[in-house]
């Protein structure tokens, strides 16, 4: 295959314990560490490995969001992507609009494979890849834990509730990644320097002429219900007694 397109979303780092703003208007994102969505890092790693095996010649990373997403694209270039595309959007974007934007990029770049994360860990939507595959009229292999390239098709192992399902999909196709697909490489300092010279194109969603999806509006945010503070027991006898007390064992 020729080209692989990879989506990189800028999200609050997975180690940050996010807090809901006191007025319920959203979660606090100012001043918190931002990173590439962990599943997207895995998607990029997989694309790089496919290219390094000689099964593809170019890896393009694309991000939609504010101009700050350039940071994540630069990291992607430092990991080894060949070039980057930033599509600037105003404010929060819904998944359907995201999928429509990616489709416009696909029409232009004609990739053989699109690798996305299975979900963005901020909105936990888990839908962009499936939507893109639908709009594109192409196969989807979601929650991938192994991807094998066989000429014009892929064999993908998927993490499903009952175990591992294998499907075969014709290219071009959309694959979304699960955590066990691979372990992303670390970025080395010289690569960061080299990445500065790699091309990063910037365009706006308006330039692409994308019709915005009908958004689901977010009305209010609240923290989750807290569990009540529990008790500590000293030994197994204490534990068994506490379980009996709650009627959980006889």
């Amino acid at each position: 295959m020729e080209k692989i397109l990879v989506g990189l979303k800028r999200v609050v780092d997975y180690n940050v314990r996010v807090r809901v703003r006191a007025d319920g208007s959203g979660v606090e994102t100012s001043g918190v560490k931002m990173s590439i969505n962990p599943f997207d890092e895995i998607a990029l790693e997989e694309a790089l490995r496919i290219r390094e095996r000689g099964d593809a010649s170019e890896v393009i990373v694309v991000s939609m969001g504010s101009s700050e997403s350039q940071q994540q694209l630069r990291t992607g270039l430092a990991m080894g992507a060949d070039r980057a595309i930033l599509v600037e959007t105003d404010g929060e974007m819904d998944s359907l609009t995201g999928a429509r934007i990616l489709l416009k990029i696909i029409e232009k770049e004609e990739p053989d494979l699109v690798l996305l994360g299975k979900q963005a860990i901020d909105n936990d939507n888990n839908q962009t890849g499936q939507m893109l595959a639908a709009l594109w009229g192409r196969p989807q292999a979601t929650f991938a834990s192994e991807v094998v390239v066989n000429g014009n098709s892929l064999k993908v192992k998927r993490e499903v509730d009952v175990g591992l399902e294998t499907i075969e999909v014709d290219l071009p196709a959309v694959v979304t990644t699960d955590l066990r697909l691979n372990e992303p490489r670390y970025v080395k300092l010289p690569d960061i320097m080299k990445a500065k010279k790699k091309p990063l194109d910037q365009l706006s969603a308006a330039d692409l002429g994308v019709e915005a999806g009908v958004p689901i509006s977010n009305e209010t945010y609240e923290p989750p219900e807290q569990r009540k503070k529990g008790i500590m027991v000293d030994d197994v006898a204490g534990l068994v007694a506490a379980l009996k007390d709650k009627g959980l064992v006889k």
């Binding site: 997975y14 996010v18 809901v20 979660v27 819904d94 998944s95 359907l96 979900q119 860990i121 909105n123 936990d124 888990n126 839908q127 962009t128 890849g129 499936q130 939507m131 639908a134 709009l135 192409r138 196969p139 979601t142 929650f143 834990s145 998927r158 993490e159 499903v160 009952v162 175990g163 591992l164 399902e165 294998t166 499907i167 196709a173 699960d178 955590l179 066990r180 999806g213 009908v214 958004p215 689901i216 509006s217 009305e219 209010t220 945010y221 609240e222 923290p223 989750p224 569990r227 529990g230 008790i231 500590m232 027991v233 030994d235 197994v236 506490a242 379980l243 709650k246 959980l248 064992v249």
Partner: protein, 314 residues
Amino acid sequence: MTKVLIVAEHDGKALNSSVAKCVSCASDIPDAEIDIAVFAGDGASLAAEAAKIDGVTRVLQVDNAANEQLLAATLAPQVVQLADGYTHLFGPSTTFGKDLMPRAAALLGVNQISDIMEVLDSHRFKRPIYAGNAIVTVAAPDDHIVVATVRTASYRSAAMDNDAKTRTVTIDADLPTHTRYVELQAGSSDRPDLQTASRVVSGGRALGSADNFEIIFKLADTIGAGVGASRAAVDAGYVPNEMQVGQTGKIIAPELYIAIGISGAIQHLTGIKDAGTIVAINKDEEAPIFEIADIGLVGDLFKIVPELQQALES
């Protein structure tokens, strides 16, 4: 008129427990008429089972050889045709529903509401974001169909003493052949299913090996529990991936959850927030799991677990 269509998940032999949970969720929508769609090779017995779920008006049975395996790419165009005339299209937020529903949503030209945990009214719902660290109230536009997945851990199964009408439906859609099922490697287990078990015992990285994990299985068998694991335990290869509990594994709500040698990372806790009683056994008294545990015991699991198993056996 509010009309909800639920896409049934099944394995060809029986309905998945998620179906009756989706019905519970849909029943919370005021004045909703609820239908279930069963896509299968031969769905007669599955449809009969679905017809028993309380609250269901109609079961639509769509038999097609292409539906022997439930692939999102082949199902989505059929679901979209069947959804005509409905105000709501629901599926479970299991891997089946997560794969299929957004594909159908895109074909219908709408966004999906993922993981409904509470119904406020016909177009407003609560759902978790940021691994459950925030709950957002969302509103869907009322001039479009609402496509959503239901967070099954938030709902109890609807009862099974109904006798709804069943109708076979033929759908004339162009089905793609670009996606082909190859095989399924499913862990076979006589233990209670992790997602529906009323008791679950889980082990973490601290177990150290697949062999050591045996003590978790033994304890689970003593109390008739299902078995789960942290991501670290799965990644290390102690147990297969379908046993992972958490943000990217299974979201469960057993009456009793026993976490053994699990630190309590946010992503793990997301999966057990709705458990009745959480018991934590960990040698580190500072482990975050103790912040949410109802009963905590500090100590070495290799000593405690066999002792606990013996105590519960007698």
